[in-house]
Symmetry: C2
Subunit: 362 residues, 2 copies
């Protein structure tokens, strides 16, 4: 039996039969996600996707005209576009934190320091928000989120830190970063292998105090049938209305299955064993150039096509995606930078990595 | 095979295999919903729920401090709370359009005129938005949306009309109202009997011109991998990011099944045959008083408990919901006004209506 929000709505709050079942499903998922994020359940809101988790808390923060948003140059177009629209309406200034070239040119051992130096160079007295992904979706490098959060707390205005965690939850340990960020937004459908249409966001205590909800529905309210009700005091104020409850059971089960495969560190070892094999194969292939100067810290492996690619498809990443797809090998292309990106998860085998390299060599 | 947004994201836009399948699923649903709403597909955005459809277009409209929001006194607490938060941030004024008492005291033949008179009495030169449900969730009365829209167009500022269609789509014909409103927001999980977590909103041409998106993700963008991309010109600018695509197939199929049961008018006749039977049974029962003075125009039948109820449960609607639930009869209670509400759909039988009346008589 999978019950549903609709049933709840029709029954009202006093029924004894179904409400506890629904509450148990959402509570089970909320607890699991909060534990992964290293935060109390009161700091965890369920969302439809990463964008909802990133963007919704932003709109209700106390902005002032002239505040600056500092956005990493590897952020996803969705959150960047949302920040620009927020800036347009609130009279904010958008600045860019350059990390892409650092990722491509800096050995991993030096990357954290280089990112922090870039941050220091870009922060101004007016900086009010920094936007930086935990695991960059294009280069595949890990950003030093905890150190960035610490650094921001030393600034006079203590800028908020928004972290896009689309690629990190389920692939690397996230607890320290999620607990340190102000907004740490993720989805269940990528590295957690859960269903699409369900994610979450971990919010800091200060965001819970300072941010009002913007997309408001009955789930935002403490008393859902009273318009005069106040918001939930906890992160549920950023939840909205009817959603697909069975997905909660699905994602909670996905997280359990993932956990049964070993600790986050043990799983990351399996992921990086495969991504290292792929990185090395790419590095050794004429016409292919991995973006990162060393084997990746997680499972994202991006690479460029150089002029002398042997398979004769030229430098068109689109043509390569199609050609590989015809062979049952599914990777994607990216625009910024123009490259191809393959992923290795705990399900990836050495044979599959070998097949990809062989196909790329033509 | 049910494909998914994630697959699309991983494959990128150039793959030939899955993208057309996904596009076909969403296009099938968008076409079906647009046809029901009597609008072109470019005016139809898919949303997670009614609240998303009501609230998201509001935030990006060009508000000016002092603009007035006129909100019906039977609106759902979610949208009312959202309007108050919008008013707080934008410096708007909230006024109330009283229709609840009209519903309870006015014969159906006179209700449209009474609502329009109330509207005229409440509109001011500063009114910028009117919020009114098509089928009121608490009284069960139908509001004259087309006439209201026409009336608003005669005013100097031509206020926008936001219609909460949570109860109307799937229970009454909506095309004229949906095409006349500026924001006509619905869900698939109530009267359409579709899955929860999927709804939509029909938007007017002027809202498409005037409103910027607020909850922004890759689906809002014309080129999803470019942060510099402009919004979709059509209603897709109000769509966000990854959602549960299989729900699209589910709702499209639900709509087909509903359509196979007859035209909207034919189905409404079946619905109102049952709601009339229930209304008459309530009317004839000591201690029970239907809210509406005549048999309902659709399938929502709300009623009060008066002091001399025969079953001895007093006037506690909560106790009645629980008692009926124990008998397998599922109705709900409402706070404003304090009442019980039963629903009849095309699946409701005369026997079920009789059982409810008998149970209420104790």
């Amino acid at each position: 039996m999978v019950a549903s929000w609709r049933t709840i709505q029709e029954l009202g709050p006093f029924t004894t039969a179904v409400w506890p079942f629904i509450e148990a499903q959402t509570a089970r998922l909320r607890s699991a996600l909060a534990a992964l994020c290293g935060v109390g359940t009161h700091r965890l809101a369920l969302t439809e996707n990463v964008s909802s988790g990133c963007v919704l808390p932003l709109w209700g923060l106390p902005w002032h005209s002239g505040d600056e948003l500092l956005i990493g140059d590897c952020e996803h177009p969705g959150v960047v576009a949302a920040c620009h629209e927020l800036a347009r309406r609130e009279g904010l200034v958008v600045a860019t934190l350059p990390v892409q070239q650092l990722c491509c040119n800096t050995p991993q051992a030096d990357l954290d320091g280089a990112v922090l130096a870039a941050l220091d160079a870009c922060l101004t007295p007016r900086t009010r928000l920094v936007v930086l992904s935990h695991l960059l979706w294009n280069t595949g490098a890990i950003m030093p989120i905890v150190a960035v959060a610490d650094r921001l707390q030393t600034r006079p205005r203590q800028p908020w830190l928004l972290v896009d965690a689309a690629q990190s939850l389920g692939s690397i340990a996230v607890a320290a970063a999620a607990a340190a960020a102000d907004i740490y937004a993720f989805t269940g459908h990528k590295w957690c292998c859960g269903p699409e249409g369900l994610g979450g966001v971990a919010l800091s205590e200060r965001v819970l105090e300072q941010a009002q909800p913007t997309l408001i529905g009955w789930r935002s309210l403490r008393q859902e049938t009273l318009a005069s009700s106040s918001w939930h005091r906890d992160a549920r104020r950023f939840e909205v209305a009817t959603s697909c409850v069975p997905l909660c059971s699905g994602l909670a089960t996905s997280l359990e299955l993932l956990s049964a495969e070993g600790s986050a560190d043990a799983r990351l070892q399996r992921i990086t064993a495969m991504s290292a094999q792929l990185w090395e194969g790419l590095q050794a292939s004429p016409g292919l150039q991995p973006l990162l100067p060393q084997a990746p810290p997680a499972g994202l492996v991006s690479f460029r096509l150089t002029a002398d690619d042997p398979a004769g498809l030229g430098s068109s990443t689109a043509a390569w995606v199609q050609r590989l797809g015809e062979q049952g090998i599914w990777i994607r292309r990216l625009d910024q930078p123009d490259c191809l990106r393959a992923c290795t998860h705990i399900t990836t085998s050495a044979d599959e990595v070998g097949r990809l390299i062989a196909a790329l060599r033509g």
